[in-house]
Structures are given as structure tokens and as C-alpha cells.
Amino acid sequence: MAVTIRKFDAIVVGAGGSGLRAALELARANLRVAVLTKVFPTRSHTVAAQGGIAAPLANSSEDNWHWHMYDTVKGSDYLGDQDAIEYMCRRANEVVVELEHMGMPFDRLDNGKIYQRPFGGHTQEYGSAKMAMRACAAADRTGHAMLHTLYQQNLRASTQFFVEWMALDLIRDPQDGAVLGVTALEMETGEVSIFQAKATLFATGGSGRMFFSSTNAFINTGDGLGMSARAGIPLEDMEFYQFHPTGVYGAGVLITEGVRGEGGYLLNKDGERFMERYAPNAKDLASRDVVSRAMTTEIKEGRGCGKDADHVLLKLDHLGPEVINLRLPGIREISIKFANTDPIREPIPVVPTAHYQMGGIPANFMGHVVAPEGASAESTVPGFYAAGECACVSVHGGNRLGCNSLLDLLVFGKSSGEQMIRDIGSLPKPHRNLPKEAGERSFARLARLDGASSGERVADVLTDLRRTMQAHCGVFRFPEMLIEGVAKVKQIAERAGRTYIADKSKVFNTARVEALELDNLVEAALATIVSAEARKESRGAQSRADFPDRDDGKWMKHTLWYKEGNRLDYKPVHLKPMSVDSFQPKVRTY
């Protein structure tokens, strides 16, 4: 197969918040950078983020990075790496102020400073009952405003984009495992190229499409995870998948936690504000895992709303039309469109909905991908970097706090860009040679799809996968269901290897893209359910009926899942921060 080889200093796969932030750093350093993306940059799913970005600017309430760090460690249920968390919280003000300087249209306070609102789990004085106003917001369109701002700055910096190019597989050096680039498919022409680089960053986002009911876009198929897993790189802590408390009932579209930050609250069928029972201090602003479990319990115990008693209500009409139209206009639009409900008058029907993957490609806070090698649990994979939702740094541990993802994109997008510049500077000028078999895995996958004249329909396999994950690996997890779920997902993964598409056209073949995406999604789902079945405790988003408590003695460790043989390995949590004392694990209440 004749294949074009394109050489760059660096490639960034993904043009969401993390990819664009990294690209900006690289382009400003005058390196030759290519940014590959499946969709036009501003169509990346960062565009859908609503509520805000966390930074202890202290514009509306007293705040500092120590409190932010404490909340993040506690929110993670003590699984987050405390050095990385300290790093993120200490750089938060810097990256948010920088974003403002780039033109981000933040909402404003009367004194002209950035508007900040309360959010779940954001507190003052190390978990006191006083909430911190830490979420910097542009109405309820913070992600849209941020993604467009970052794209605009990349236009200014003349970043080179390859739009509607799908990366297919990693290319590694068989000698030392160094990453040398990726293969990629140009959707418009169906051509495959090799992108060769000294540094390759994955910023491919989440894998929320593995669940039936999800706040994620169609394109969130865990491609970076699939590519890494096929190339022998483990995936970390994939069992920790966050269910957001407030997805629109029946549609899955998100209603931001910012609604509760502005004063909205949840009601059961008796009109009771039930969160008061589960989290007497923080109430509706407890951590997401806590609120999602409370809602699920209410529904299970027969206090759900509607004719099937299968959802609860989010009330916000008491905020008044002014606040709703000024601070939550997008929510109103979504609610009218997707729930046939105008929140100015009626509450919105909501259910916990799959939202965010805390796990991912194991990386450190400089963006280096790290994997066990010999005696080291965290040896860097030369030439390979990961940031954003596809990476596990791990700052979110077992449960992410609202607004910490957009922050993670900026901090680790920037730091990985900085690190890539340093690393490229210390490498010899010429690129390493590509191995003879470079690209073969991708060619084989494409040839199989083109050659197949019958087989499994992509849509059927995908639907079965999503239904299985939803039923077997949800908010509450049960031992038999998990065991059965693992067996089912393994079968589904086999079926994904026998998919068939009728459309064989070269030109913008979206059926082919969907089949290739499914290959990635099944890896992400396998990693998730296999890791969940193996972890015999409840922590953060992983809640098991048979092991209802956290078990720090046995399970204060990160999971590593390998595709080959579905093997599991574990590595220690970084309990030691960079400069301050460790936060010791405590019982977690809100």
C-alpha cells in the first residue's frame, strides 16, 4: 500500500480544550505542529461544557489553592495523586487569567472581575459548611466560550490543522517502545497517511458513548484509549466512570450543576428536598457520586416521579426569570427543547447520566505517558504524551469535582506543550526511522472492513455494548451483574472484530468511521468493566453492593488494565504532594 508520510516536530491528536491549549504552546514556540481532529475544532465536545472552570481567584468569597486542593483530594475519594493535584490547583489562577487575556467572555461582577459561582464539593476552610465561589463562568456556556477562544488564538498563531482526519493507530519503535507517530485517515478522500513526529500528544477526549444514556457527543468513542490499548499501553482507573446527577430524563442531555450552584434543588415525588437527608451540610451541592447515589436510592425506594416513578425533579423556578435568563439561558433552551418544560415555570425531570471518565491513559503532570517497565511502575514512554479527559494524571481519582475538567484541560494542555518543547529541543535533529511494519495494523483493519461482504452490523454491536454497560456497570454495581457483564462485553468485543459495512465508498465514508470508532469503544468498555469487577471496594464513582465501604488497606491503589489477556496490574497512589503535607484519608461526608 502506497502511503504518504508527513513529518512534523509534534502532532496533537484532538482539538478540544486540551489539544488546542497544547497546540497553542507549541505553535507559539515555532515548532512544526500538526493538529489532527475528527471534527472541525469548535465542534469538539468541550463546546458542550456548561457550568464553569474552577480557580480560587477569590473574587466573590475567600479562597486559596490549599482549599481547592483539599476539596479535589477529598472529591477523588483519596485516589487522586496529591502531587498532580497540588500542581493543578497552584496553576489554576494563572491559566484562567491567561484565558481571560485571550478574550474569553467570562461573566462579570460589578467590580469588573470574573464572575464565580458555587459548585458541588467546592468549600472553604478544608471542607467546612461554607461553600466557596470558585466556578468561573460564561453564563452556562463556559465550554463553548473557552473552546472558541482557544481556537481563535490558534488561528492567530497559525497552527496547522488537519480537520476531519481520524487517527487510527499508534506507531511504536519495536526497539524501545518509543512512539513515532500515528496513522490517520482523511475522511474526505479515504486516504491513509503516516504522521511522523518526535512528540505525539493524545487529547482525544472521553468515551461516554459506551453507556446507553450519556451526556456525551456521538464522537466521544475513546479513540485515544483504543489506540493506546492496541499498542500495548495500559489504561488506568477505568472503573471510575462518573454519572452526572442531572441529565434530562429520556434524552441524556446535561443540565449543569451550576443550576444547583445558583440555588436550584432536587425534589422527590413527595416534594421533599431529599438531599438534606443524605448530605446535611452541602445538600444538593455534595459531590456528584453522592448525589447520583441518593437519587438512584430515592427512585429504587419508590419515591421517583412520573408515571413510571423513574426520575426526580430539578426545581429552579424560585430563582426568577432574571437569574435564569442571565446565568442559565442555555439550560432554559435545552429544557424547552428536550424536556418540553420551561424551567421558569416548572421543574425539569432529571436522572443520573453517564458523563465523565476519570480514568484513561496513564500520564504524569508534565504530560508524559507512563507505564510499568522493569522495576519502575511509572517509566515514561518516549515520545508519547496525553492530556485532557483521555488521560489519567490522576487528579480526579475516584470522582471528579465539577469544573475541574476544564481546568485540567488548560493546566495539563499547557504543561504537556511546555514539556514537548523541552523534549524536542533535546532530541537529535533527524527523526528516528520508521519500522518496516509501520501502519500495518491500520491497513489490516481497513482491508478487513473493505473486504467483508457480510458480518455484524455496526449499529447492532454498538447498541448491545451500550445497553450492557448501562445495565451491568452503572451507578450501583452488583457482583453477579459485573461477572456476567464482563462475559457479555468480551463477546461483544469479539463481534466488533467481525463488523461489516455495506458502504465501500472512498469519499467521506461515515459508516467506515463508525466501525473504526467501535473498535476503540469496545476497548474502553472492556477496560471499564473488567477493572470494576476486580476492585472489591466502594470508592468514588465505584459503588459495590457486596463491598459497600472504602478499603484503604487493600485498595488504595491505581488499576492498570492491559488489552492483552485482559490483564490487570496495580500501582501506588502518590500520597505525597509537592510542597505541603499529605491529606490523610478520612471518612467522606458532605
Binding site: E100, T149, Q152, L155, A502
Partner: protein
């Protein structure tokens, strides 16, 4: 429901054609995009872009019974039983409902869609009052879907010379931002018989915008500023 869809695959078809489908909907299908996804399960060669499925990414703009809109926020209940779908008018078709948006983005880039302020940034955020920030509402929310520009006759005739409503809305977004210092440079670049002045206030763009934005209003504001600075 019945869907008639514009089909064209340059790999196979000599010319575009319309193809009719009968799609069996499920009770959970509420939006036109749900119907298209359902149809793709039936015929995987039907090609269209989509991502967020909630009206924020701008991927699935198309011409729906003669009107531009986003499939993901077009309610099936508000459509007749027979729906005709065509690609956005005026742009080259790549395949089926997928158009080549190069021209559209080139015009967007031509207005320098980024904040220009070359004074040394302060330690903290630049200040802006809530009233000043309010001027950006109705401007920054654009999702670059191109529903407006591809409904604009002036853009159809001169896509290479007329910036079009989407680009002009963004030009005004930066002019209206108190932090931006390039207003006169921005106005200069629009002082041209085509770039701005091809707009004849026909308002098709306002009708077409699925986000309820008003490019005509923004264009009017820019024209006013032009007049004001020339006297």
C-alpha cells in the same frame, strides 16, 4: 415517516439524485437527527455530519423542507410526515448532506476572529463591567453552523468577496468587546464595496439562525459605526 434525501457520492454517482425512504421511528425518537440515525441503521451509506446532538457544536446544519436548520434540535412532532433534506445551499457538496465549508471558514478567518490587545497583560484579569460584558450577548454564542450565510443571497453570489452574516456577526463581537483595541483596523478591513456592503438587509440570516442570533442587527451596528467615523 417519509424522508426524501439528496444523494450524491462522487465515487459512484454521475449526478445527484433524490432518494425516498420510509423510516420506522421508535417512541424515543424526538428530533430529526434521531430519524437520520435510525435511517443510517437501515442504509449505512446515507452521509451527514453530527456530534453533540444538542445544538451546540454546529455539525448537522442542513436544508430541511426548504429551510436551513440543525437536525438535532428540529422536533419531529413539528415536522410534516414527509420531510425533504438537502445539503446547505450554495456550498460545494462533498457527499450527500455533507458540504465543503472552506469558503465559509475562510470568510470567518478574514475578520481576524480573535481578541487583539497588545498592551502588556495585567497580573490579573482585565476588568469589564457587567454592562460592557452584556454587549457580547447575542454575539459570542455563534456555533459556526453556517445556516445563516448559506441562506443569504449575497453570500451565494459572492462567497469569495462578501464576508457573510456569520463572519460579520463575529467581526462585531470583537468590535463590541471593550478589551479589544483593533476597532479601526477592523472597520478599515470591512470598508469595501463587497465585504460588508453587499448586505442588503434581507434578513434571511436572522430567520435561519437556529440559535436565535441576529446578524442583521450586528451588521447594522457596524454600518452605523462606519457612517459615524466618516463624519
Amino acid at each position: 415517516m417519509r424522508l426524501s434525501i439528496y444523494r450524491y457520492d462522487p465515487d459512484r454517482d454521475a449526478a445527484p439524485r433524490m432518494q425516498d425512504y420510509q423510516v420506522a421511528l421508535e417512541p424515543s425518537d424526538r428530533m430529526l437527527l434521531d430519524a437520520l440515525v435510525r435511517l443510517k441503521e437501515q442504509d449505512d451509506s446515507v452521509s451527514f455530519r453530527r456530534s453533540c446532538r444538542e445544538g451546540v457544536c454546529g455539525s448537522d446544519a442542513m436544508n430541511i423542507n426548504g429551510k436551513n436548520g440543525l437536525a438535532c434540535i428540529t422536533k419531529l412532532a413539528e415536522l410534516p410526515d414527509h420531510v425533504t433534506l438537502r445539503p446547505l445551499p450554495g456550498l460545494p457538496v462533498i457527499r450527500d448532506l455533507i458540504v465543503d465549508m472552506t469558503q465559509f471558514f475562510r470568510q470567518y478567518e478574514s475578520i481576524k476572529p480573535y481578541l487583539i490587545n497588545d498592551t502588556a497583560p495585567p497580573e490579573r484579569e482585565r476588568l469589564q463591567s457587567p454592562e460592557e460584558r452584556e454587549h457580547l450577548n447575542g454575539l459570542y454564542e455563534c456555533i459556526l453552523c453556517a445556516c445563516c450565510s448559506t441562506a443569504c443571497p449575497s453570500f451565494w453570489w459572492n462567497p469569495d468577496k462578501f464576508v457573510g452574516p456569520a463572519g460579520l456577526l463575529q467581526a462585531y463581537r470583537f468590535i463590541a468587546d471593550t478589551r479589544d483595541q483593533a476597532t479601526s483596523e477592523r472597520l478599515d478591513s470591512l470598508e469595501d464595496p463587497y465585504r460588508l456592503f453587499r448586505c442588503h438587509s434581507i434578513m434571511n440570516c436572522v430567520d435561519a439562525c437556529p440559535k436565535g442570533l441576529n446578524p442583521t442587527h450586528a451588521i447594522g451596528k457596524i454600518k452605523e459605526m462606519m457612517v459615524r467615523r466618516s463624519v
